[in-house]
Amino acid sequence: MNYNEATLAYFENTPAAGVLLGPGTLRGAAGDRAHGTWVQFDLQVDAGIVQAARFLAFGCPHTIAVASWIAEHAPGGELLAALPESVAQLSERFAVPVEKRGRLLIIEDAWLACVRRGELPVHRGNH
């Protein structure tokens, strides 16, 4: 499998990997490790603006790279029911093969799960 530069960079460096803890943290996950792909986002949001984001992922290098890019670029943006870039744009940015694009939908589902937490605030803090 060949990967483009963006995929290699984000897979190898994985900026924004990890978890966020504390009041106000929104956590959303999707997928299943037993089925090969699982993604989780943690977001800290203030006044509708994402202040910090982290991710965890079990999956192929494309999955890890895309989740990492989203978590890196989310801060500063509004908490919207949409990824910072569309699935199609992400697919192009990371040269995701068409057979793998369903995995981007799992990433999107994890993001939307976070957004839903924002609509119905649930504290998953360290307490």
Partner: protein
Amino acid sequence: MSRPVYLDHAATTPVDARVAAAMARCLTAEGEFGNPASASHAFGDAAAALVETARARVAASVGAAPQEVVWTSGATEANNLAIFGVAEYYGESGRHIVTGRTEHKAVLDPCRELERRGWRVTYLAPDGGGLIQPEQVAAALQADTVLVSIMHVNNEIGVIQDIARIAAICAQHGSARLHVDAAQSAGKCPIDFANLGVDLMSLSAHKVYGPKGVGALLVSRGGGAGAGAEGRAGGRRRESVQLRARQFGGGQERGLRAGTVATHQVVGMGMAFELAREALQAEAARLAPLRERLWQGLAALGGALRNGDARHSVPHLLNVSFEGVEGESLLAAVRGRLAVSTGSACTSALREASYVLRALGRDDVLSESSLRFGLGRNTGERDIDAAVAAVGQAVSRLRRLSGV
């Protein structure tokens, strides 16, 4: 940038420099470039002499007679010639074949093709360690079984099948010829073709520091072999095996494999097999502790599962699954530092879990998260330690990323 540590010797090996030199002498005007079938002049005679010397070397390295060696383009062609050759020659007397679920695709795919043509194939399931019990073969044989095809050493997990006992069972049956894919064992394990009682055996050159593109099928000519205590049928005289040829046009290789024999290729294979035979025992003794060092290092990472029965495995191969990591990411994470194979097959961009590991009972995620380490002549302790370090860092990082 330094090259990754090469631990994929089960996939292929570099050509030994002595082998390459011998091959080169068969290519140019100063050397033996003649067509070995050209009996009308000295150039052909010289090439033919080299071909026959190579044939004798290969035969001697596996306990066969030179006239039992049929050159092919590799083990895949040898497997195809054996399976289709027997099926088509003996098709009037029977249309049933027995093989294993963990055979190489070069055996399974011809069997599937024969099924499409109306043959019945029984696929034996191995135990959790990858072994097929000889009693399973006995139970699977039917009155019209004409061929049993069981590999000697599995290419993914390295387990060694009990070929001698399977051969004895086939001999008792009478009409079931035994074909053995020995691509992964020849030159690495002691093989006595005559006394094993095997009818057909596939060999490959590039697994033992010979060139790609050449192999051989051993075709038993019968005779007094099989008389050993471990051998076939307790001294029963073996019958020669007949094959229907797959290609025509010159009658080379006793009519079984038409086409000009590639002198340089078979000379390379002959020398590679002779060198491998000379080094076999010492190399096995050297590699066994290295493989154990590798396993101990990987086991210390935690969540490492060894695939295949360690009590019945070759010293040059180790297959390990890692819990909590995804296979493609694991391979990508070690790629820059380590050349190994993974337990999955790439079909377009998606990966398919190893059918061999699934046959052993591993689930898809563990089957995909396996690495196959193939040790070879150039492998030393530093390579093993570097491999353990590379895998350890990758596994730790991916487990952290996945929240495990």
